[in-house]
């Protein structure tokens, strides 16, 4: 049975959330969206339905947050709560319905980034944890970790300094370089703290994208293996010679009556998954 971090929102039923909630966390420039762009088609080719979501994508608050950030006069508490509004809108209207429908939900950042940002901005950790106590515990959190030395060239030399990514609201008067280093270092420290508390699976994001992806794929397959509803596809994928187990055969017959196992379990993705080994 799925759980939240302590509190349940009105009318949120946890009993029938059959899908998987997979979180990709990491600081700015760690390659989260690149990985999601690789993982989504891969999972879909395996036969899983996938929804991807991320910060400020809610129909309710996404535009409002973007407008508020344009002016550079968004206060710290306001910012934390605006993001919480965006998160809960997506939790209730996107994540939970998708899980109920049996989808795999890939989320680019989750409550951990939001907590880290708020804590670095001086919010009380107990306060921000209380707000996000309504969040679902995910099935896996992959934390793409990158040191400040590796982070700097990736972010700065590709797209330049950004006001918010540099934490300029926190260090007014600094130049953007100093501010960026202070802010991102503080975030990394906070992430490391959260990592232990929330069981992140650490991934070295300094490796090239395909290596990182292969690592994620392996761990995701492992996760799906443990769920009988999701494991059949991945077993086919891992070893196309495996004969369906009786229990799986029944599942399979319901799920895809028109096709045979061998046509779904083709081999070329097999190569992709292990290319980084």
């Amino acid at each position: 049975m799925r759980e939240t971090y302590g509190r349940l929102l009105p009318e949120m039923r946890l009993g029938d959330l059959a899908g998987k909630l997979i979180v990709i966390e990491g600081t700015d420039g760690a390659g989260r969206s690149t990985q999601i762009d690789l993982l989504k088609p891969w999972l879909e080719e395996l036969g899983h339905a996938v929804v991807d979501t991320g910060m400020t994508r809610s129909p309710l608050a996404g535009d409002g947050i973007r407008r508020a950030k344009e002016g550079n006069n968004l206060g710290r508490v306001t910012q934390a709560l605006f993001y919480a509004t965006d998160f809960v809108d997506r939790l209730e209207n996107e994540i939970v319905p998708a899980l109920r429908a049996g989808f795999i939900v890939l989320t680019d950042r989750y409550i951990y980034s939001l907590m880290a940002r708020a804590i670095v901005r001086g919010m009380d950790p107990r306060w921000i944890r209380s707000i996000y106590s309504v969040a679902l515990k995910p099935d896996a959190v992959f934390y793409l970790r990158l040191g400040i030395d590796q982070l700097l060239p990736r972010v700065v030399f590709s797209r330049g300094f950004d006001y918010w990514e540099s934490g300029m609201d926190l260090y007014p008067g600094h130049d953007m370089f100093d501010s960026f280093c202070s802010y991102q270092s503080a975030l990394l420290t906070e992430f490391d703290r959260l990592s232990a508390e929330f069981n992140f699976q650490m991934v070295d994001a300094a490796a090239d994208a395909r290596t990182v992806c292969a690592h994620l794929q392996q761990n995701i397959l492992h996760l799906l293996e443990r769920d009988s509803r999701k494991s059949y596809m991945s077993r086919l994928y891992n070893d196309s010679t495996t004969a369906p187990q009786p229990a799986d055969a029944a599942l399979f017959a319901v799920a895809t009556p028109a096709t045979t196992p061998s046509t779904n379990g083709n081999g070329h993705h097999h190569h992709a998954a292990h290319s980084g080994d």
């Binding site: 309710l60 006069n73 508490v77 209730e92 309504v134």
Partner: protein
């Protein structure tokens, strides 16, 4: 706390708090700002806005630097709230969060700096409105209180207590029905907006009643004549401000 323990002003008994409002101050602490925060609470139709506006004029005439802040009025956030209400996107949780975002912006941008500057800040609705409405919508009581832990504790929180039917009469005098969220239509309590309003506001009234002792709200009988209520309000405010030597008063 016992209610009605009899502070008498003229012929009328008023319910001044016997203990300070206990707010969960987490970030702004037990503040010692030179300014003073005075808030009014009550259901729609209780007449609280009328009373606050009369108080506003009176304080200005006395030379105080007075600033007014209204619920749900942040320039940064109110468009999002409006969008959510218009498209009916709001659930009890996001209704609660977007209003707390609006309140946070007003706190950070105006209420807090103005209190530091020594102003008398008047708020039409404060955190108690959120506590009443959000809990009436099914949100967890403790969660909502924690959500507003950053709020500055008011010096005086007036609660204009009025029977439901009186409020409905006042509100329907001059308009046909109620707006969707105002009437709690999102909760599917009743098909008819007036009936839904009655049920929803009934829940809100029950929450306010519980908050009187919890936060030491100062109760005003909102069925009394406007002038009498205003006299009580001014007496209580005057007693408080006379002690506040650091307030800026123009000669």
């Amino acid at each position: 706390m016992e209610i009605g323990s009899g502070v008498r002003i003229g012929p009328f008994e008023v319910f001044a708090p016997l203990q300070p409002a206990v707010s969960m101050v987490r970030h702004y602490g037990e503040h010692h700002f030179p300014g003073r925060l005075i808030v009014v609470e009550g259901i729609d139709g209780s007449g609280k806005s009328t009373q606050l506006s009369l108080l506003h004029k009176w304080l200005e005439s006395k030379g105080y630097g007075v600033v007014f802040s209204e619920w749900n009025s942040s320039p940064l956030v109110k468009d999002t709230t409006k969008h959510g209400k218009k498209k009916k996107l709001l659930t009890p949780a996001t209704f609660s969060l977007i209003h707390s975002t609006d309140f946070a912006d007003r706190t950070e941008r105006s209420i807090l700096p103005l209190l530091k500057a020594g102003a008398v800040v008047l708020c039409d609705r404060y955190v108690y409105t959120a506590f009443a409405r959000d809990v009436a919508r099914g949100m967890d009581r403790a969660w909502v209180r924690e959500l507003y832990a950053f709020a500055v504790k008011p010096a005086i929180a007036f609660y204009f207590r009025v029977p439901l039917e009186t409020a409905i009469h006042r509100l329907l005098d001059g308009r046909d029905g109620f707006k969707f969220y105002e009437a709690g239509m999102d909760l599917n309590l009743a098909d008819d907006s007036v009936e839904s309003f009655r049920l929803f506001q009934g829940r809100i009234l029950a929450e306010y009643e519980k908050m009187i002792p919890e936060f030491g709200l100062t109760v005003v009988d909102a069925t009394l004549p406007i002038e009498i209520q205003q006299m009580q309000v001014r007496q209580i405010v005057k007693a408080h401000l006379d002690k506040a030597k650091e307030l800026r008063v123009q000669a």
